[in-house]
Amino acid sequence: MQKTDYIIELAGYKKEDFSVCLGCKICASVCTVNDLEMNINPQDLLVSLFLEQEVDRDHLLVRYCTNCYRCTSACPWRIKIPDVVRALRESLSVASPFEKAFKGSINIWGRVYEPYVFLMAIPFLLKEGYVKHMAKWTEYMSIHLPHKVKRLNRSNSLNNSHGLNGSNDLNGNKGRM
């Protein structure tokens, strides 16, 4: 299986689903990333995947898509481009240190334990200037103990999910890659 086919399948689609795209570019006219003064056309991403062209990890949508689904609401075919971007991010292993800490917390406790996430991401938060916002975050901060959730039944949960029928697990091991 082509890598692009795999990414499309991860997003819950088949390659043929993208063939209906009319090229109307209405997704580009509403895309939130364009509010960041970038010249983005989400339809180009679908075309690239349809033509089995690999998408670079520096693609502006891969980096900046906000998962807002404005493109989906506007699209005549309701194609969920944010789901495609999320599959791309996953396959290209694009995650900030904060997101990695977030996933790490879920793997340990089954839940997001915020003090752990902040602790693990401290070098990133310091470097990227998040500390100056700490004063405003005092309302949010709370010290509490993590609740230990019973280990997730990984194989069952994925077998029951849509699409790949358990070809990858929650550690991110991709069975078909």
């Binding site: 989906t72 977030f102 996933k103 879920i106 915020e114 975050w137 709370s142 849509h162 990858n168 929650l170």
Partner: protein, 226 residues
């Protein structure tokens, strides 16, 4: 009425205020919320591909089997993920906003009103999009505010994106998007999403940004709600 309750990670952490508010309002409405035992994270918007997200939420639905038919999920991301995982429709997944109709508002027995006050209701993305997982009544916050005499501003920005999803990856992007929203709004901003609340609050200067539940508690006489 008895509902299953899925608070999700943020409502047990940084969005405890929303959790307390939802529980208090449901108590006032005469409903009971029974927390799903041993629930796990729904994956929010960050956890990997769609299969992984749906898998996590299916685990939660399995844990709710036998205890309830209707599950209340206040966090918009949890609500969306549970709704997507509920493909065989064993449960009805509800957001508290869907239970706040006119009848419910009357039974709140409000002791105050909002006359002369200006509000900007802000829903953000996940509550309104995509259509199949969106809340049914997309003007519920406006209905509520005007019902109690308040004025509405900033309707055109209610479904814009605050960039909360990029907060811990590209902070400047969230700052730019949130600032655009803050500039186009007036009065008190009323939100229901923990991520929107955090993003807007971080980049606002003097604006008051509150959860809808805070507003409801204020109406029912709670002096510390706002």
């Amino acid at each position: 009425m008895n509902y299953g309750y899925y608070p999700g990670c943020s409502l047990t952490g940084s969005a405890r205020k929303l959790d307390k508010g939802v529980r208090a309002i449901f108590r006032k409405l005469g409903h009971s919320l029974n927390e799903i035992p041993d629930w796990n994270c729904c994956g929010a918007l960050e956890y990997g591909d769609r299969n992984e997200l749906i898998g996590l939420s299916r685990e939660n639905l399995k844990k709710a089997e036998g205890m309830c038919r209707e599950i209340v999920a206040p966090c918009p991301a949890c609500y969306k993920n549970l709704k997507e995982a509920n493909s065989d429709a064993n449960f009805e997944i509800l957001n508290p906003l869907e239970l706040l109709d006119k009848e419910a508002l009357v039974s709140l027995n409000a002791m105050r009103d909002l006359k002369g006050k200006v509000f900007t209701p802000y829903y953000g993305c996940v509550l309104l999009r995509p259509e199949e997982t969106a809340i049914r009544n997309k003007t519920v916050m406006e209905d509520l505010i005007t019902f109690f005499g308040g004025e509405i501003e900033g309707e055109k920005i209610k479904d814009r994106c605050c960039g909360g999803n990029q907060f811990f990856a590209n902070k400047w992007a969230t700052e730019k998007l949130s600032t655009l929203i803050l500039e186009k709004s007036r009065g008190v901003m009323v939100v229901f999403c923990p991520l929107c609340h955090m993003a807007l609050k971080t980049f606002s200067t003097k604006r008051k940004i509150i959860y809808l539940t805070d507003l409801l508690l204020y109406l029912t006489g709670d002096n510390n709600a706002l």
